[in-house]
């Protein structure tokens, strides 16, 4: 089976600094992959290379078997929906307008949005339970609601692959659970492939079927959540020895903080 996204020997330098080195992995259709690693390990950069926010990388990235550079940016956005890290923007648009803007790769510049576009927006707003907030201005919403709006945008793009950068980082626990269950449904029910960069290791192993771990721009680990959640792997990637407890519902170890901090 052709991987839906394939990355081979991806390297990136920015301003003379090596950011990524020789990264290779595939995403198969239906995968839910979490990209983990310490701050500055290159998680966001991988997503930016795939979506061509960065253009000066070396290596080979293919989407549906075709080189990513052979797509126009609009075509690419029909296959890949990318949700950048959402700090620093506060859209002055209404929720509905904002989500409708995600239909950009499909709309004709000289026509108003089609019925199909409207339907996609309504479906995304209902899935994220934002329908009743659709006339609110995004910047007036809470952080959790905003994050759901951004996610609704990515859903309305109706792409086969969702690339998410820290989709739950700034959210309180109920909102984190909300977003995770939504992503789970999108993945299982609609068969959307997900690649999410995240700091939250417990959430990552609970959601994903595969974990990729980066450190200093290199891919150190690729494997199942069970294989990842071992003292050895976590120490190798993050440089600290975690304390594990067993999750009460699933056979997976969870990392808990140590009482005094500073686990070694």
């Amino acid at each position: 089976m052709i991987p839906i996204v394939s990355i081979k020997n991806l390297s990136l330098r920015l301003s003379g600094q090596e950011i990524l080195r020789d990264i290779s992995f595939d995403l198969q259709a239906g995968d839910y992959v979490c990209l983990v690693g310490p701050n500055g390990s290159g998680k966001t950069s991988v997503l930016r290379c795939v979506t061509r926010v960065y253009s000066r990388w070396l290596g080979e990235i293919t989407v549906l078997g075709k080189p990513v550079r052979s797509f126009s940016q609009r075509e690419l956005a029909r296959h890949l929906a990318y949700l950048p890290q959402a700090d620093g923007i506060a859209p002055p648009y209404t929720v509905e307008d904002f989500v409708l803007m995600a239909r950009y790769p499909f709309v004709n510049p000289f026509r108003p949005p089609s019925a199909e576009d409207r339907e996609a927006v309504e479906m995304a707003l209902r899935m994220t339970e934002l329908w009743s907030l659709r006339h609110r201005v995004v910047r007036t919403l809470s952080g959790g609601e905003r994050q759901k709006v951004y996610l609704a945008g990515a859903i309305a793009q109706q792409a086969k692959v969702l690339l998410l950068d820290e989709p739950t980082t700034f959210l309180d626990v109920p909102h984190q659970e909300d977003v995770r269950s939504l992503l789970h449904r999108i993945n299982r029910q609609s068969g959307v492939t997900i690649l999410a960069a995240t700091h939250d290791l417990n959430a990552a192993v609970l959601s994903a079927n595969r974990i990729l771990a980066l450190r200093e721009g290199r891919l150190l680990f690729s494997g199942s959540p069970e294989e990842f959640m071992t003292t050895e792997v976590v120490r190798q990637v993050f440089g600290f020895a975690p304390q594990f407890v067993r999750h009460p519902q699933v056979p997976l170890p969870m990392i808990v903080p140590s009482p005094g901090g500073g686990a070694t």
């Binding site: 926010v53 956005a77 648009y93």
Partner: protein
């Protein structure tokens, strides 16, 4: 009914009233129903050969400046960005000063060479900014703004040298040109040049309204949604740049309209560019015509340069808005 529709209607009404009333206003008011008899031939000539063309060119120029401001503020995610920020005004002024100081300012085939020099100066400046930003940073917003500001200072210094060493009479001509104004408008020749340029460019900017909505969120978001950044930025830069350069070439660097008109319009019709672009065009047009009417009326028969009036009227009004209304152009939190 959309909550912004009211604001749009207000702007349309204001524009219509301004266009309907201002041609009759002046040092001598022309009363429409007395301008029909044979004895009022002069009044009719003033109306049709001077005032109506002047009002029309003011409206078109104001609209172009406002649309240019809207496009640049969104593209640069900066409430202060205008085509002038990238050196369009200083480049045009340099071109105009060269034409005056080198004895090349004359009219031929209905064209003033000063306008041609000004247009070329503005476009040359834009090209340099584009080349630097393209080569260094793939049209990054910050690099373009810095290159634009650097070019503005550079142009201004060249202007100062030329003015310092130049012939005093020409220095005054150049100084007067740089204040901006519409008093050179006689008949419809300028309008025949400006109107098609402004119409065509504004249609292009309007066709790019969705791209502008996304660019206002930032380059990364726009790319994520499928906007081909480099193409769109280059297109916007040169289409709006040449539109504003044409206005400056014919009317001089009239300040403040491209800064203030987009902000006022955004307060009235919201930040969505599908509404913002046409509304800003109408409001910018009406604003410049009102300012020009004041400029030619208050001290009649002496005229005040309209660039002085735009800031004099617009500045306090804008400050009042800043005090009383929410800041709707804050894209950044």
């Amino acid at each position: 009914m959309n909550r912004w529709a009211g604001g749009f209607l207000v702007i349309v009404a204001v524009a219509l009233v301004v266009l309907g009333v201002t041609p009759f206003a002046g040092g001598n008011w022309i009363v429409p129903w007395r301008a029909t008899g044979p004895e009022s031939l002069v009044a009719r000539q003033i109306l049709f050969e001077l005032r109506i063309p002047r009002v029309l060119i003011g409206f078109v120029a104001g609209a172009a400046l406002a649309v240019g401001g809207v496009a640049f503020q969104a593209m640069f995610r900066n409430p202060l960005a205008t085509p002038y920020t990238l050196g369009v005004a200083s480049g045009a002024s340099l071109g105009a000063v060269i034409s005056f100081q080198c004895g090349l300012a004359f009219s031929t085939w209905g064209f003033s060479t000063t306008a041609v020099f000004a247009f070329l100066g503005a476009m040359a400046t834009l090209l340099v900014v584009y080349a630097v930003a393209m080569w260094r940073a793939e049209l990054s917003v910050a690099t373009m703004l810095l290159a634009g500001v650097a070019m503005s200072f550079f142009n201004s210094s060249l202007i100062l040298i030329l003015q310092y060493l130049g012939d005093p009479v020409q220095v005054f001509h150049a100084f007067r040109w740089m204040l901006g104004g519409l008093e050179g408008t006689i008949g419809y020749d300028d309008l025949k040049v400006l109107l098609p340029v402004v119409l065509l460019s504004s249609v292009v900017v309007f066709a790019l309204r969705r791209e502008l909505n996304l660019l206002a969120l930032g380059d990364e978001w726009a790319t994520a949604r499928g906007v081909p950044l480099m193409k769109i930025k280059a297109l916007l830069l040169f289409v709006t740049g040449s539109m504003v350069a044409s206005v400056v070439a014919l009317c001089g660097p009239i300040g403040f309209v491209c800064l203030i008109a987009p902000h006022i319009t955004r307060l009235l019709v919201g930040p969505e560019h599908g509404r913002l672009i046409p509304a800003a065009a109408l409001l910018g047009g009406a604003f410049l015509v009102v300012c020009d009417t004041v400029a030619r009326t208050v001290l009649a028969p002496t005229e005040i340069p309209v660039g002085v009036i735009t800031a004099l009227l617009g500045g306090p009004f804008f400050l009042w808005l800043l005090f009383t209304r929410p800041l709707s152009w804050e894209w950044l939190s």
